[in-house]
């Protein structure tokens, strides 16, 4: 067991290392001088600020130091949670900007991913045994999964937002409000949350439902199901086994889909101008805010790796075979 997780951690560590290194390399090996171009673009109107920034960036990049030292320093800063200073909202530290956006992204992603997974699996398993439902749900599921996130988001924003006017189509909360822990604000927050959540939830839902339906049908036709049926076991028992065994590949599927889900969430945020990491990336690109972009990417990589590791743990807890195999290997 320890060896298994040790190996997993090593892989994740290596991935993180590579991601950070690439992130570090991009500004340094990009053609042209990123510092002067950044300073020129943002600091043109304010010569004093421009000079401060030039000194700051030159120091930060430490261009006078050898490359390996720059690299070590970069890691050192990283471990102190120092991603540099944002250009877009100068002089706020990038970390602070990111931490302000993270709750929105997590608040959108975690419920939509988990709920679509749970409801999709439940739906799929249910549809697998009902012809009528199967014939209606399946095509809907296919349409939903085939839909790009952006498309459904735009459709929902237009239909339920612009035309019906039920939900606001932009922002995390109303412009007229100040963030606070009042009921009024929380309701407003939820109101803004509904549409981006719904579009993420719906697109993912179809995929999970179809996957589960196919897995259940596969399990119900498998040898152990046939054996149980031949021994007269009731359908209840056979279905219970089939469901449990069908869920396992769905957990792996969740790990595999995580990257896609994150990308979907980022795009959806942009469509709804939702103040999460996706919108942050857009802002960073528009403002040539290199540190913000770098920091956000690193943050997302870290998040995906952590989520993957959690799924690994869950899988080991749920699938007894991995545990049995590990115990055997350890003995």
């Amino acid at each position: 067991m320890r060896r298994y997780f040790g190996r997993k951690l090593l892989v994740y560590g290596l991935t993180f290392f590579v991601a950070v290194t690439i992130n570090w390399m991009i500004p340094r090996f990009m053609p042209g001088d990123p510092v002067s171009s950044m300073v020129a673009r943002t600091g043109a109107s304010n010569p004093a600020a421009a000079e401060t920034m030039r000194v700051y960036y030159t120091n930060l990049f430490g261009f006078d130091q050898p490359l390996w030292k720059q690299y070590v320093n970069f890691w050192g800063a990283l471990f102190q949670g120092d991603f540099g200073i944002s250009i877009w909202v100068f002089p706020t530290p990038v970390t602070e900007v990111i931490l302000g956006a993270v709750p929105y992204t997590l608040g959108l992603m975690i419920p939509s991913v988990l709920l679509s997974w749970v409801v999709g699996n439940w739906f799929g398993a249910y549809a697998a045994r009902r012809k009528v439902l199967d014939n209606t749900l399946l095509p809907v599921g296919y349409v939903l999964t085939a839909m790009p996130y952006m498309w459904l988001a735009v459709l929902l924003a237009w239909g339920l937002g612009v035309v019906a006017g039920w939900f606001p189509v932009a922002g995390g909360y109303s412009f007229s409000m100040q963030p606070s822990w009042s009921w009024e604000f929380i309701l407003d927050l939820l109101h803004h949350w509904v549409l981006p959540f719904a579009s993420l939830f719906l697109v993912a839902l179809g995929g999970w439902a179809i996957g589960m339906r196919n897995m259940i049908i596969y399990e119900l036709e498998s040898d152990y199901s046939n054996y149980l049926a031949a021994l007269g076991a009731p359908q209840r028992l056979i279905r219970r086994y089939a469901f449990r065994n069908a869920v396992l590949p769905q957990i792996t599927g969740l790990a595999l889909q995580l990257g896609v889900l994150v990308a979907g969430a980022l795009v959806t945020e942009i469509v709804f101008s939702y103040p999460g990491l996706g919108s942050l990336i857009l802002k960073a690109i528009q403002n040539q805010d290199f540190f913000l972009l770098q920091g956000t990417f690193l943050f997302i990589v870290l998040g995906v790796l952590i989520a993957n590791f959690i799924i690994d743990i869950v899988y080991v807890v749920v699938d007894p075979r991995t545990r049995a195999g590990m115990a055997g290997a350890a003995a």
Binding site: N226, G232, D319
Partner: protein
């Protein structure tokens, strides 16, 4: 009389038409009898075995009756048949290697299966049966993946016979095993019969040599029909049906008589069961076929307990 099968017809529904995999099969078995069911692949052995316990979705019961211990089995009625499964008729499937739920410990699976059938687990009895097939009691605490092929095979044997069924169907249980394991499994099956765990048994195999070691009676099938049925020694020593003779000739060793013979399959291939020819189904491959063979030969008892379906037997 333990099992009585009368003119049983079971077809597969396919897009091209009905596959007449079991086309008028009649035979009977005594209590305590081990019946070896032999024949080339595709002749309907598995279909016969499945018909007696659980037909799959494509199989249709087209006619005939099955009686076990004086009660008619509702073989075409999946729900009513459930009462008989496991308790009266049980099965060691062809796919024993994958017959157990991979994500349940074996002991727990057995307990859940028994409870679902309204029976309680007698752990002492289960453990003594494990000992009988030389499985450690610890297997109950393992997952199927932790067992070797032979162990899984024996575990499934124990599970299938736990409720002391009257009839056990063992379908190709030895095909996936090496020769020494085959012998052990065959011995264990005989042991189960002798211990009274099962009253009678249908031992399905395409391997006539092995059948002759374990079976009391051997029944040879050809293209969905019975060719010959007789006590094992009679089949081996004095086969009467041309197909049985050719089948024995193609074996490497069953008694000294056949050892010098060249190893050869039977020329030609069995007819399509979608649209089988009228008359004797073996006609196209039979070396002694004659005029009369255009008519279907009836199953005749040419000697006591020796049945043959051939005009020239």
């Amino acid at each position: 009389m333990s099992l009585q099968v009368n003119d049983l017809r079971v077809y597969y529904r396919t897009l091209k038409g009905d596959v007449k995999a079991l086309d008028g099969v009649s035979f009977s078995m005594e209590d305590g009898e081990i019946l070896g069911l032999a024949g080339e692949s595709g002749c309907g052995k598995t279909t016969l075995g499945k018909s007696l316990i659980r037909m799959d979705g494509r199989m249709r019961h087209m006619g005939g009756t099955v009686e076990l211990d004086g009660r008619e089995l509702p073989i075409g009625d999946d729900r009513r048949m459930n009462d008989f499964r496991f308790r009266e008729v049980s099965l060691i499937p062809q796919y024993s290697m994958s017959a157990m739920n991979p994500t349940r410990k074996i002991g727990r699976m057995v307990r859940e299966l028994l409870r679902s059938r309204g029976a309680t687990l007698d752990l002492d009895e289960l453990e003594s049966r494990l000992s009988l097939v030389e499985l450690p009691h610890a297997v109950l605490d393992r997952y199927p993946i932790e067992l070797s092929g032979g162990m899984k095979q024996r575990m499934v044997m124990v599970i299938s016979t736990l409720l002391d069924p009257s009839l056990l169907i063992a379908d190709e249980v030895t095909s996936a095993l090496d020769v020494s394991t085959q012998k052990a499994v065959a011995r264990a099956l005989i042991g189960f019969r002798d211990a009274g765990f099962v009253k009678s048994m249908i031992f399905v195999t395409h391997d006539l040599a092995l059948t002759s070691h374990i079976a009391d009676t051997i029944m040879v099938m050809y293209a969905g029909k019975l060719a010959e049925k007789a006590p094992a020694t009679a089949i081996v020593k004095k086969p009467r049906h041309p197909y049985t003779k050719l089948l024995l000739d193609s074996l490497p060793e069953v008694g000294v008589r056949y050892t010098e013979k060249r190893l050869a399959g039977i020329a030609g291939s069995p007819p399509s069961l979608l649209d089988p020819p009228a008359g004797c189904r073996f006609r196209s491959r039979c070396p002694i076929a004659g005029e009369e063979c255009v008519q279907e030969p009836p199953m005749a008892e040419i000697e006591p307990n020796h049945f043959v379906a051939c005009w020239k037997a």
